[in-house]
């Protein structure tokens, strides 16, 4: 259902997403101040009748409107670059998972300790079922341990796809013949939803991603049961 929370970013489930939200808010604040200032200047130039027809240049003013925007831009680029490089980092991952985009489902492979692979298809929405999300649920969840660094390898088997989890701040293109790496750390338990983010064909909208974030013990239990 559409609620007002859809206007915002999803609540973060990883430190990176937390920082991304802070960065978003910070940048929005700067944009709002610029907008307010520009609107004020525009209004005052329209309303003001005191015009100096002999003013041809204003060195101080020109200097200021060059330096001030440059400084403002610095306040945006610095945290932006910091985040960009933080997101690129893989901090000694404890495990690797692989996800492969297919037309039209995701398949997952765990191969660090036991070799497990499974497909993850969308669960169709039945009638007025209030305990599930329409077009977001899958039959097999990607179960992962929280509080540990996880590397994800994203690739595709047929066409371009994109593996995305908004609440983790992750989006990686799935390209056939190429392995893209990303990493994340989930800091709370729960279900995290995402969707394919690269137009990949007729059922592009129907290949969602569900991560089930659980404690490490439960994760080990789960993977043991799956490998039997």
């Amino acid at each position: 259902m559409t609620t007002w929370s859809c206007m915002n970013l999803q609540d973060s489930a990883s430190p990176i997403m937390e920082q991304l939200i802070f960065f978003h808010d910070h940048t929005m604040m700067i944009i709002t101040m610029i907008l307010a200032m520009v609107l004020y200047f525009m209004a005052s130039t329209i309303i003001n009748e005191l015009v100096d027809r002999y003013m041809l240049e204003g060195q101080t003013m020109e200097l200021m409107w060059t330096i001030v925007p440059a400084v403002i831009l610095l306040f945006i680029t610095t945290p932006s670059l910091r985040l960009l490089y933080l997101m690129d980092e893989i901090h000694n991952p404890i495990m690797t998972i692989k996800t492969i985009g297919h037309q039209w489902y995701w398949s997952y492979e765990y191969s660090d300790f036991v070799n497990v692979e499974f497909d993850s298809y969308m669960t169709p929405y039945e009638g007025d079922n209030k305990s599930m999300f329409r077009l977001l649920e899958t039959d097999n969840h990607v179960t992962l341990p929280m509080h540990s660094f996880i590397r994800i390898i994203v690739t595709a088997a047929d066409v371009l796809h994109s593996w995305t989890i908004p609440s983790l701040g992750i989006k990686a293109d799935a390209t056939p013949g190429r392995l893209n790496q990303s990493s994340f750390m989930i800091n709370r338990p729960g279900l995290l939803y995402g969707q394919c983010s690269e137009i990949c064909g007729a059922n592009h909208s129907f290949m969602p991603i569900v991560i089930e974030s659980v404690s490490t013990e439960n994760f080990i239990e789960w993977i043991k049961k799956l490998s039997e």
Partner: protein, 88 residues
């Protein structure tokens, strides 16, 4: 923050819980070459040092963690049929 390895030792899971580490030769998002190089290195290592040489397993661990199963299967058949493009 409990790491997977610590928790696992408590539960006595027989498998070793580790994954392919960061390799400074492949610092980018694109890890295709890491997977490929590990696969080639593993088989080259086994060819040079013999099938039972334990340190070769490091490369096996890396390519198993990184390569999709389908790729490994494809390369295995290529090696069996003597048409593997890499230098082993």
């Amino acid at each position: 923050m409990p790491s997977l390895a610590v928790m696992a030792s408590k539960k006595e899971v027989p498998q070793e819980l580790s994954t392919a580490p960061f390799d400074p030769r492949f610092p980018n998002q694109n890890q295709t070459r890491y997977c490929w190089q590990s696969y080639v290195d593993y088989h080259r290592c086994r060819k040079l040092k013999g099938e039972d040489y334990a340190p070769c397993d490091y490369f096996r661990k890396c390519y198993e963690s990184l390569c999709p199963f389908a790729w490994v299967e494809k390369w295995d058949t290529q090696r069996e049929e003597n048409r593997f493009p890499g230098k082993i």
